[in-house]
């Protein structure tokens, strides 16, 4: 395998691994803070128990998220030195800001996890707030950098192709930031909500019908339901923005080969480069043009209008996009069912079919999120900085990328297995003990 492919594989694996822990790092502090706050406000011990249990699990998850994040920062420089040489000076600020946000989150998490007996109840709850804010801030800052890669702004190249002028604030607040940032932030709460709910739904399926399981499920589903609606809204605005700003990505997402007015939505199907159309899809005529512009006859630029070397892979991008939307609709449906039943019966619904759906929705939300990242990353190819620098020009020429990739696969596998075992052990212990 050549260096570019290996660099992409290593970085992609690292990102795909890290993001799972990172989104929990954004969402769980909000759950913990809410639970503890509710407990103090309502003088309700059960919420406090939940907060404590979540914090124990969170300690492990945060640590794994932290080390995998460290790897990513190293990999930015080690795997993509040419990219960083060009871009570092332009979009370095959000990364630095993220560093501070992460450090703050770590400090307050230390106070939260281990300060139960050293701080008053109110003081302890107050430390949960910076954790939640820093977590969200980290997401916002980091995604600004990715957004810049999609719509690079805030710099001018001189006639010699070198950087002539830089406006770091304009780079951070580039055109994609307004849509990419909210969508990713909201997705973090989607995943957290559905994953937490899935854990408790699984327990309920096993007959562990106690106040902790019902409340844990309910709390997860509050976050999940609010977030999935927002995810749909922010996703829609993101897609509409991509239609304008990254037409190649949009064409790949939807499998549009020929420029056309009144473009259809292709539900599912497999784009075929040889036949220049999407096979086996369900077509909804004019729907794409309408969704993108509110004009059913608007023109959508096709993949064929881009030079072959500039086209993203429509199979990957279209399947990822439809996967994300499809799974998103599924989990949205599960959330709707849950709340419909809950509000009608005024109690946490625990019917078997619903619980099975909730258990499935946990991993489904994770896959949807990963699929979303596939869309934006594969959809941006062959560019690493859209329209400015190609991925193939950005990778390192250093040796030993093959062994590096292999080592990291092994490390992530080990981390995932150990994390899983520890969390299961923690769950078993809490079942046995009072706390």
């Amino acid at each position: 395998m050549d260096n570019v492919t290996l660099a992409r594989a290593t970085m992609g694996t690292s990102l795909g691994f890290h993001i799972v822990f990172a989104v929990l790092g954004v969402g769980m502090p909000l759950l913990m803070s809410a639970a503890e706050g509710l407990s103090l406000w309502r003088h309700d011990e059960a919420w406090m128990v939940l907060a404590r249990r979540w914090s124990k699990a969170f300690g492990i998850l945060f640590a794994v998220g932290a080390v995998s994040g460290t790897v990513l920062s190293f990999e930015l420089g080690l795997l993509w030195p040419r990219f960083m040489a060009f871009s570092g000076g332009i979009f370095g600020l959000p990364f630095s800001a993220e560093g501070f946000a992460f450090f703050l989150e770590a400090i307050f998490l230390g106070l939260y996890l281990y300060g139960w007996n050293r701080l008053t109840p109110i003081q302890h709850w107050l430390t949960s707030i910076p954790i939640a804010i820093s977590g969200a801030a980290s997401s916002v800052f980091v995604v600004m950098a990715n957004a810049w890669m999609n719509t690079p702004a805030g710099f001018r190249l001189g006639p010699d192709g070198k950087l002539a002028q830089v406006d770091p604030l304009a780079a951070a607040l580039n055109p994609s930031t307004a849509t990419e940032d909210p969508h990713m932030l909201v997705s973090a709460y989607v995943v957290t909500g559905f994953v937490v709910a899935a854990v408790y739904a699984a327990g309920l399926l096993r007959g562990r019908n106690d106040i902790f399981h019902r409340r844990g499920l309910a709390a997860g589903m509050v976050m999940a339901a609010v977030a999935i609606v927002l995810a749909g809204i922010t996703g829609d605005s993101s897609a509409r923005f991509i239609y304008e700003a990254q037409p190649a990505k949009f064409a790949a997402m939807e499998g549009i080969y020929q420029t056309q007015r009144g473009a259809p939505i292709h539900l599912g199907g497999i784009p075929s480069d040889s036949q220049h159309r999407v096979l086996y899809a369900i077509e909804i005529p004019k729907a794409l043009s309408f969704l993108a512009t509110f004009n059913p006859n608007a023109e959508v630029r096709g993949l064929d209008t881009f030079p072959a070397a500039d086209r993203p892979n429509p199979v990957l991008v279209h399947l990822s996009f439809d996967g994300m939307v499809g799974l998103g609709l599924f989990i949205g449906f599960v959330a709707a069912m849950f709340w419909f039943l809950a509000l009608r019966r005024r109690f946490v619904p625990t019917g078997r079919l619903l619980l099975l759906g909730l258990v499935a929705a946990g991993p489904a939300s994770v896959i949807a999120m990963e699929a979303g990242w596939f869309v934006t990353e594969f959809g941006r190819q062959p560019w690493i900085v859209y329209g400015v620098m190609r991925t193939s020009e950005a990778a390192t020429s250093a040796p030993a990328l093959g062994p590096t990739f292999a080592i990291f696969i092994a490390i992530y596998a080990g981390l995932a297995i150990t994390t899983g075992r520890l969390l299961l052990m923690l769950a078993a212990r809490t079942r046995g003990a009072a706390l």
Binding site: G77, F102, F103, A400
Partner: protein, 327 residues
């Protein structure tokens, strides 16, 4: 001083803080690995109590140095990757041990990984530092001309790598002496270890200087040039630190060893000023555009204003002991 130099100074301060704090952590891992005698378990317990996991977050500064210096990242891909693997494994195994003590005890795979990673990372970071300090990375006009094995595989680099490892162990040993002042048996254990680490690191430092004298690399030039005052101070401080350890004055010893690390780091930095990566890359040439540097200063200032009081709060609540060990 230009903005670039101010930023470089701040980054170097952060790196020094990293060396002192995370270095002690790595050193702790060394003593964990080499815990021995009748009190081996208590030694490990003492190490766990004294370490500060929050300092893992300090890696972000190391990252800025690497991402900002792409030529260094390119040239030193191998040692940095190995160090990165060590950092990951250390961080993870530390968390696993703290949270899952039954499943991952001191003799379990993660315990061994923790110890090995604590040894590997400082060593390879030391070799990388040696490559930079000895002027082995050639990048005329910003394009890397030297090879991927240059500078960090030489005898000098190996000695400096071992020196980095030994000074981490030395740092940790003095910290552990302070933390265990009320336990004479553990205090004596760590005193012995501190003395050993002091002698080893001192010998390695002198060996490095001697090798540098004979192979004519930049290191000696830097230390005897602009870095001379700090280098002399380091030479004087070394015996002082050892005396404090010998006489069981742990608090003085800790300050002295921390001071030693600071002196060595700044002797190096000032010694090779204005170069960031001698012989070709100066601070001003490798710096980001002015607008970014100004923005960076703003971010660092705001971040610092939030961070420093929070760190103070953490220290206040836990009195500088590792909160995880008491969980």
């Amino acid at each position: 001083m230009s903005t670039a130099e101010v930023i470089a100074g701040i980054l170097w301060l952060a790196l020094t803080a990293y060396a002192v704090l995370a270095g002690a952590d790595f050193g702790g891992g060394v003593w964990d690995l080499f815990a021995s005698g009748p009190r081996a378990n208590e030694q490990r317990g003492a190490v766990a109590e004294a370490m500060g996991p929050v300092w893992e977050a300090n890696h972000v500064w190391l990252i800025f140095m690497i991402t900002g210096l792409f030529t260094v990242a390119l040239a030193l891909y191998i040692p940095f990757t190995i160090a990165m693997v060590g950092i990951v494994l250390r961080g993870a195994s530390f968390a696993f041990r703290a949270h899952g003590a039954d499943a991952v005890g001191p003799t379990s795979p993660w315990g061994v990984i923790f110890g090995v990673a604590s040894v590997v990372t400082p060593f390879f970071l030391g070799t990388a530092a040696a490559a930079v300090a000895s002027g082995s990375i050639h990048a005329p006009g910003g394009r890397l001309a030297s090879g991927y094995l240059d500078g960090w595989t030489t005898p000098l680099a190996i000695v400096i790598g071992l020196f980095a490892l030994s000074i981490c162990a030395y740092l940790a040993a003095t910290y552990l002496m302070v933390e265990n002042e009320d336990r004479p048996d553990l205090l004596a254990d760590f005193r012995r270890r501190a003395i050993a680490a002091a002698l080893v690191s001192g010998a390695l430092a002198l060996l490095a200087v001697a090798i540098s004298f004979f192979d004519g690399s930049r290191l000696l030039e830097s230390l005897t040039g602009r870095g001379l005052p700090l280098f002399v101070l380091a030479l004087l401080n070394g015996p002082l630190a050892l005396w404090a350890v010998w006489r069981s004055r742990p608090r003085i010893a800790r300050v002295a060893v921390v001071g030693q690390v600071v002196l060595v780091a700044w002797a190096w930095a000032i010694g090779q000023w204005p170069y960031l990566v001698p012989p070709d890359l100066t601070i001003s040439a490798t710096a980001a555009p002015e607008a970014t540097l100004t923005g960076m200063l703003a971010v660092v200032t705001i971040g610092g204003l939030l961070l420093l009081p929070s760190l103070w709060l953490l220290f206040r609540v836990f009195k500088a002991r590792n909160p995880q060990a008491r969980a």
